[in-house]
């Protein structure tokens, strides 16, 4: 496939929505495509609640479970690598405005109805920081932030239902102070911007990477995926090309909202593990 190797890598975006992007990546090798997938899932920094200080918790859920639930809430992390520092690299005492987002939750139920504590109750609250402690070196992070950076995704957006944290009844309250920090999904899944990455190549199995098990008729039992329409079905008499390599990769990236789908794909292109493969190959992605 000498001819193909010279072809320029290309991306064809089939669909772009608020939380997902569907694109076809062509003329790259399998290892590159997969590393793209892996980076999208685990190597893009986002912010997520990392430390939780429970002031008062009279809900039915134990402290550590609430903390876990808080950690799972997606927070807006646009432009995360510039807008916030890694706490471990910050020179501050424990946490500061450059390396952490202070959030607090203070809900009590006074009605005789069940109250849902949701991510909408999370407030940006600088008082979470200890004023006695030194903050890190001056930086430009704050200017690079979008307005709602570090806020729960979909807050103040009536079209998006908030994330339920706990349900409380009359007389119960939940008061916690949280610090959201920057991190990678390698460390904990809560920092993953993607909820799923669909990945497919060779829908007709022309390369014979796989074998379809069947009872009577593989064509009847194996439904073709939608991506099969993009490629020509193999003719019955077509000889098997054992030198062929996968060329076209069908991606669908769904994010949890902390990063937009386009940002995810953009970031990947700049990621060192992607760029080491082919330095400028994805520079063309321009959306």
């Amino acid at each position: 496939m000498q001819a193909n190797a010279e072809l320029e890598p290309s991306v064809h975006i089939r669909e772009l929505k608020k939380d997902r992007v569907n694109f076809v990546l062509e003329n790259v090798d399998l290892a590159f495509a997969n590393s793209l997938r892996r980076v999208m899932m685990a190597d893009l920094p986002t912010v997520a609640i990392d430390t939780v200080e429970v002031v008062s918790n009279t809900t039915v859920l134990p402290d550590e479970f609430i903390a876990h639930r808080l950690g799972m809430i997606p927070l807006v992390s646009a432009n995360c690598d510039e807008a916030i520092r890694e706490t471990r690299e910050c020179t501050c005492d424990t946490a500061c405005e450059y390396c952490a987002i202070p959030l607090s939750l203070n809900v009590a139920c006074h009605d005789s109805r069940t109250l849902d504590i949701t991510s909408n109750h999370l407030q940006y609250d600088p008082s979470v920081f200890n004023p006695q402690q030194e903050s890190g070196a001056e930086g430009e992070e704050l200017t690079k932030r979008v307005d709602n950076f570090g806020h729960p995704v979909g807050k103040n957006d009536p079209s998006l239902p908030p994330v339920l944290i706990a349900k409380i009844r009359k007389g119960q309250e939940l008061k916690v102070r949280c610090l959201a920090k920057r991190g990678l999904a390698k460390e904990h899944a809560k920092w993953s911007p993607c909820s799923a990455v669909a990945f497919e190549y060779d829908p007709h199995n022309k390369l014979r990477h796989t074998t379809y098990w069947y009872e009577t008729d593989p064509r009847a039992e194996w439904p073709l995926s939608d991506n099969a329409r993009e490629e020509e079905p193999p003719r019955d008499d077509e000889p098997f090309d054992f030198n062929a390599k996968p060329q076209r990769f069908y991606f669908e990236v769904e994010t949890d909202g902390s990063l937009g789908p386009q940002e995810v794909v953009m970031k990947v292109s700049k990621h060192p593990s992607a760029s080491c493969h082919c330095a400028e190959s994805l520079e063309f992605i321009n959306m």
Binding site: L30, N34, R38, H68, M72, V197, A198, Y201, T210, E221
Partner: protein
């Protein structure tokens, strides 16, 4: 009664989420959330209710009195006399004096209440939650009315109410304050809406009396047991046996043994002592029967049968030696022999004693002597029939001849016996006083009697509590049971499944557990529909501990059957007193072990049919729960007859009667002679009599909850029944009101996508037991070998299978060091004393992080091992002392309960702390699907490394394909498909077994659904390696399977040790995880190392890492234990008596044996010198040393030549032990 009829509601493929949530938020105010749960414990509760007169149960044929009243009536009166049996002026003609009789008139148990001295309580009722939370028992006050009467003119009956202490009361029984409460009210009383009771609360633990299998009452079974021969000379293996039950449910077993001389002996036991009486004696004593009467009665016109005539002749002849001819003579003879044993009133004559004996031990279920006589004749006939091989022995291990010992029945039996004992003690006390001629004895004075009563221990409450707490039966009679312990169990709330199965478990008896033979454990076809074939543990209790099938009921209400004999006579039965019945042509008709008539086989069969139609249609007042066992005549089969059973404790189950399509209840006796089709398709015209309401009814509740269990290899379903009960699930919805020692909780339980219909019926959604996991069946990275499973690390981080363990720690200052033993004011008080700095700041005491000023821990505090959990001040020392958290892992304080005393009048001395331990899944934790497929988590791969499908789906769990071929759990594969389709379409998939057939297969049903969702028909999908991104060469079976997290976790089991505690005697590491001990490196492990030739490793394991020690050994005598020390300082030597420096080691070590020998030698030589005898050669002493003479260095080294060697310490110990026995061990050192 678990739903009798066929299910009327059609299966709905929804999860009923809203319905469920609504019910949970607003439990029904007029009934129960899950009514069926109340039904399945009815035998527990109703059997307890039956103890009382106001049980609310139907009256049956009796007068509606409770078992306790009946028991008290059966106990009868005790009689004492103030004379000593010597005729005197005071003591009347017989010498016995005044006759005082006393008896118990009435027994009552109240509902649990607060002690009477508390006047200010808002509610005097005590509810179970209080007992549970305060770690006390749920008890009601018991009292008896004791009456006494002096047999003297002008004396009236007098009575006194005697307190019997607090008796544990069954929750939700008629004596429980939760009786009849709706779910909404239950929640108000801090119970779960599903609370169904049936247990007792003892010291905060829920304990129940487990069902026990007993021989069927009032039915004669034929036995052939070789062991009967050992009973005495001329005994044979043949016997018939009947377990007779009195109206108060106490029983006596009568056996009739066949002797080789043709006669028979009646055996019974009285106070654990066995007695045998010739049957002729009884027959004559009962009705004064003549020999001819007996002959005719046994023969029943079968004069051709020479076998029978010969035996009966022998029987009659053998009795001639007794020279007893009339009934009264027999009674007097019996009375004379048994007078001492029975301890009856002294003024009774032998006749009365004999009559009493017959009344109390022979066929006690029958009152009338004539009927007893008839029944005994029947037993004799059956015995002879058995001996002549014209009928087969009955199998006592078959449910056909079994019934159930109900909790309430046993409870009543124990109370009866205790009351009887108390009464006997009163008699003994008075008799003792009379014999000792105590001056206080005055039968006319009520004070004397009251004084005697106060001396006797009437505290039944503590005895009953003890019985329930230990399960041990302390009984002088043994209650006609084969075991004395193991009656009660803890109803562990590990998870809901385990909890509910306790109430359906039924044990064969502790006696059988020790039996070598496995015949009793066998699953018999007779058990179909009564005992679940699947739900039994594997291992030691296999087949002995069973569980009732889902629809199996146990009859607890008495039935009205007194009109049945007349009804049957009207339809062709010959009456039982007819003089000339041909025994060869007629079958015996019995009702509850009474002969009620005779009928020819055709008529008997017709009668059985009529009765069945009547009972199913409710005509002629024939109760539905009547069991109609028609045993047809056969050649050498079961002894024929028509046996009707109406008694309690029988197992019955609902089926459909085909003749009139009505619901019928059938018992385990009659089922053997029925033809019951499992499904309507199986009905055979003219053969089938009944059809099952549902083909799954023979399974227990738990077995029914295994999805697609009909696809699995049967042992896998057995394993699932075990593992379902070990699952970390949702034990309770009222967790904050529980104080269990250990509770496991799955934080993120889900309802299974694939579930049988009964999942809803039993309300299992209130107590989720696992999570729906995406499972790929693939061999990936090798970490899923040998039943290991790979967990998706990202799924785990998102909360997959996250669990919590709740433990409780009790701090009781009464048990603390320094507590005052007296009942006066306590000297220990919870709190922080003045010696603790509590004000915040640097100088604050470290304990303030954990404890509040009151000495209790803060709720939510993290505790590490050794942290303080409570503090108290000791008055005597005025110092604060801490109680430490005793666990070995980090825990959080979840709840602190301050427990006061019963009367709420003393200072708090006891707290209970619930601790929460987080248990996120880690490598080494155990998981299982619902198909007996358990596995251990071996690796947690991050999502990027997990394989994925084209749609980007990644499995939560990866299991190895090798888990399937040998285990054949096809049900799991089907569940995977069904789960996947259900998840895609939003369906709750019906996984009830036996729904599919060969023509309508599950694969096609779910395959179509998958195809509709865009998947492969058979559930496979192409997958890609997460590491390389390459498509796998094979497509992968991936679907959704419900996974359970089992309670076995590494954190509870891991054992590591480098150094640690050693045994003081052997200096080897101790064993046991709790003590930080080591793991035994045993013989076989040693063999392996020897075989490998790894001698260094061997030495390291067995010596260096175990009990390595160095020891001084004497080269001269080879002794290890003769080490002595001279006190020397550097450069000094000890000079012996002979002036020569004594040879020692560098620190003065020497061999005491050698030195003593040398000194002795010296001494001898000196003496020889003194006497002038030059003895060059010493007298040869007996040489004990096994050293070759080359190595003996001679007497120059007077004190031995010591050397250090490395030996295991136990070896030194062994040498010392051997020396103690006079054996010397000698080492040769090279």
């Amino acid at each position: 009664m678990p739903d009798a009829g066929p299910s009327t509601t059609k299966y709905r493929s929804t999860f009923r989420t809203l319905e469920r949530e609504k019910k949970f938020r607003n439990p029904p105010k007029d009934g129960s959330t899950v009514p069926i749960l109340n039904e399945f414990v009815t035998p527990h509760i109703e059997s307890f209710d039956a103890l009382f007169d106001d049980s609310g149960l139907p009256q049956g044929d009796g007068d509606g009195r409770g078992l306790l009243s009946l028991a008290v009536r059966d106990i009868g009166e005790r009689v004492v006399f103030d004379g000593t049996g010597q005729v005197g002026t005071e003591s009347g003609q017989s010498g016995w004096g005044n006759r005082l009789s006393f008896w118990i008139e009435q027994v009552s148990i109240s509902k649990p209440r607060v002690p009477e001295k508390i006047k200010h309580a808002n509610d005097i009722r005590v509810y179970p939650f209080e007992a549970r939370e305060r770690l006390t028992s749920y008890r009601g006050r018991m009292s008896v009315k004791i009456c006494w009467k002096l047999d003297h003119q002008g004396e009236v009956e007098r009575s006194v109410i005697k307190d019997c202490g607090l008796v544990p009361v069954m929750v939700r029984s008629v004596r429980c304050n939760l009786r009849g409460l709706s779910s909404a009210d239950l929640v108000k009383k801090h119970e779960e809406p599903e609370e169904f009771g049936g247990y007792f609360i003892i010291n905060g633990n829920e304990r129940l009396i487990r069902y026990l299998i007993l021989p069927r009452r009032n039915h004669v079974i034929a036995l052939i047991r070789p062991s009967f021969v050992n009973r005495g000379p001329s005994y044979t293996p043949y016997a018939v046996q009947i377990r007779c039950v009195r109206p108060d449910q106490t029983s006596v077993t009568n056996s009739l043994h066949y002797l080789s001389n043709g006669s028979a002996m009646l055996r019974f036991s009285w106070r654990k002592q066995e007695y045998v009486i010739p049957i002729m004696l009884i027959l004559k004593a009962l009705v004064g029967a003549s020999d001819k009467e007996i002959f005719e009665g046994v023969m029943m016109q079968d004069y051709e049968n020479t076998f029978l005539t010969d035996r009966v002749e022998l029987l009659l002849r053998s009795f001639k030696m007794y020279s007893l001819y009339t009934g009264d003579q027999c009674l007097e003879y019996l009375g004379d022999k048994f007078r001492v044993v029975l301890a009856l009133p002294e003024d009774w004559d032998n006749l009365a004693v004999g009559a009493w004996l017959i009344q109390k031990v022979v066929l006690v279920h029958i009152q009338e002597a004539r009927e007893k006589y008839r029944m005994l004749l029947f037993m004799l006939r059956k015995l002879y029939s058995l001996v002549s091989k014209s009928c087969s022995p009955d199998n006592p291990d078959s449910p056909q001849h079994q019934e159930v010992l109900l909790p309430g029945t046993l409870y009543g039996m124990i109370i009866k016996e205790r009351l009887e004992e108390a009464l006997n003690q009163v008699r003994n006390q008075i008799m003792l006083d009379v014999r000792n001629q105590e001056p206080s004895v005055d039968f006319f004075d009520a004070r004397y009697f009251n004084k005697v009563l106060s001396k006797v221990n009437f505290d039944l409450g503590s005895k009953m509590s003890n019985f329930l707490a230990t399960g041990n039966l302390v009984s002088p009679t043994g209650l006609d049971l084969q075991q004395a312990s193991g009656f009660t169990i803890v109803a562990e709330k590990l998870n809901w499944m385990r909890y509910i199965s306790h109430f359906r478990s039924i044990h064969r008896g502790a006696f059988f557990a020790e039996l070598k033979t496995t015949a009793v454990r066998k699953l018999l076809p007779e058990a179909w529909g009564f005992l679940c074939p699947v739900h039994t543990p594997d291992g030691a209790p296999c087949g002995l501990l069973n569980h009732l099938s889902r629809t199996c009921r146990i009859i607890t209400a008495p039935l009205r059957v007194s009109h049945l004999p007349a009804l049957l006579v009207a339809h062709g039965m010959t009456q039982n007193f007819s003089p000339s019945i041909d025994g060869t042509k007629n079958l015996c008709v019995q009702l509850d072990g009474r002969v009620i008539g005779w009928a020819r086989p055709q008529i008997a069969k017709q009668l059985a049919m009529n009765l069945r139609i009547w009972k199913t249609e409710g005509r002629h007042d024939v109760p539905l729960d009547l069991e109609i066992g028609y045993v047809p005549p056969s050649r050498g089969g079961q002894y024929p007859g028509l046996y009707l059973f109406s008694s309690r404790s029988r197992m019955m189950r609902p089926v459909k009667y085909l003749a009139n399509s009505r619901n019928d209840q059938i018992g385990s006796f009659e089922q053997v002679y029925m033809d019951i089709a499992c499904t309507p398709e199986e009905i055979e015209r003219g053969v089938s009599t009944h059809v099952e309401h549902a083909p799954t009814n023979f399974l227990s509740i738990l077995a029914n909850l295994t999805p697609f269990s009909d696809f699995n290899q049967s042992p896998r379903n057995i394993y699932q029944c075990q593992m379902g009960k070990q699952t970390m699930g949702t034990p309770s919805t009222a967790l904050q009101h529980r104080t269990d020692n250990k509770l496991y909780r799955l934080q993120t339980g889900q309802t299974p996508v694939v579930r049988p219909e009964l999942h809803n019926t039993y309300g299992m959604d209130s107590f989720p037991n696992g999570t729906n996991a995406v499972v790929a069946v693939i061999s990936y990275t090798g970490y899923d070998m040998e039943d290991a499973m790979i967990l998706n690390k990202s799924a785990h981080e998102r909360g997959f299978a996250y669990g919590t363990v709740y433990k409780s720690q009790i701090v009781d200052l009464k048990d603390a060091k320094g507590a005052s033993r007296s009942m006066s004011a306590p000297t220990l008080h919870f709190g922080l004393g003045h010696d603790i700095r509590t004000e915040p700041g640097d100088k604050q005491h470290w304990c303030c992080k954990f404890l509040d000023l009151d000495g209790y821990p803060f709720v939510g505090t993290q505790l590490s091992p050794g942290d303080p959990i409570a503090a108290y001040i000791d008055d005597t020392t005025a110092r604060t002392r801490f109680v430490k958290y005793k666990g070995d892992e980090v825990a959080y304080v979840d709840e602190v309960r301050i427990l006061g005393s019963d009367a709420a009048d003393s200072e708090c001395q006891k707290i209970q702390v619930t601790l929460r331990i987080t248990r996120s899944p880690v490598i080494g934790d155990k998981f299982s699907s619902r198909h007996g497929q358990k596995g251990v988590c071996s690796q947690k791969w991050p999502a990027i490394d997990m394989p994925f499908t084209e749609s980007g789906m990644q499995p939560d769990v990866i299991i190895n394909p090798h888990a399937f071929p040998s285990r054949m759990t096809i049900g799991m594969l089907v569940e995977s498909m069904a789960g996947k389709a259900g998840a895609m379409h939003g369906l709750a998939q019906d996984a009830t077994p036996f729904k599919f057939s060969e023509k309508d297969t599950a694969i096609d049903y779910f395959g179509e659904q998958l195809l509709a969702a865009g998947y492969n028909y058979y559930g496979n999908e192409p997958m890609y390696s997460g590491i390389t991104g390459q498509e796998f060469a094979a497509d992968i079976y991936i679907g959704v399977v419900y996974y359970q997290r089992l309670r076995h976790m590494v954190l509870d089991k891991f054992q590591v040790r480098t150094t640690g505690p050693v045994d003081p005697v052997t200096r080897q590491p101790v064993k046991g995880r709790k003590r930080a001990g080591g793991i035994r490196f045993g013989e076989m492990e040693r063999d392996a190392l020897i075989a490998h030739g790894t001698s260094f490793l061997l030495q390291d394991r067995l010596m260096n890492c175990s009990d390595y020690s160095t020891a001084w050994v004497c080269r001269t005598c080879g002794s290890l234990i003769s080490l002595g020390y001279d006190d020397i300082r550097l450069g000094e030597v000890v000079i012996g008596p002979s002036g020569i420096p004594k040879p020692t080691g560098p620190n003065g070590e020497y061999c005491r044996v050698c030195r003593a020998a040398a000194e002795q030698e010296d001494e001898r030589q000196r003496k020889a010198m003194a006497h002038g005898n030059n003895v060059s050669n010493a007298v040869k002493t007996d040489v004990r040393v096994a050293i070759s003479s080359v190595n003996v260095l001679g007497s120059t080294s007077k004190g031995g030549d010591l050397d250090v060697v490395a030996v295991p310490y136990v070896f030194r110990y062994l040498c010392a032990e051997l020396a103690a026995m006079g054996i010397a061990v000698s080492l040769e050192v090279h």
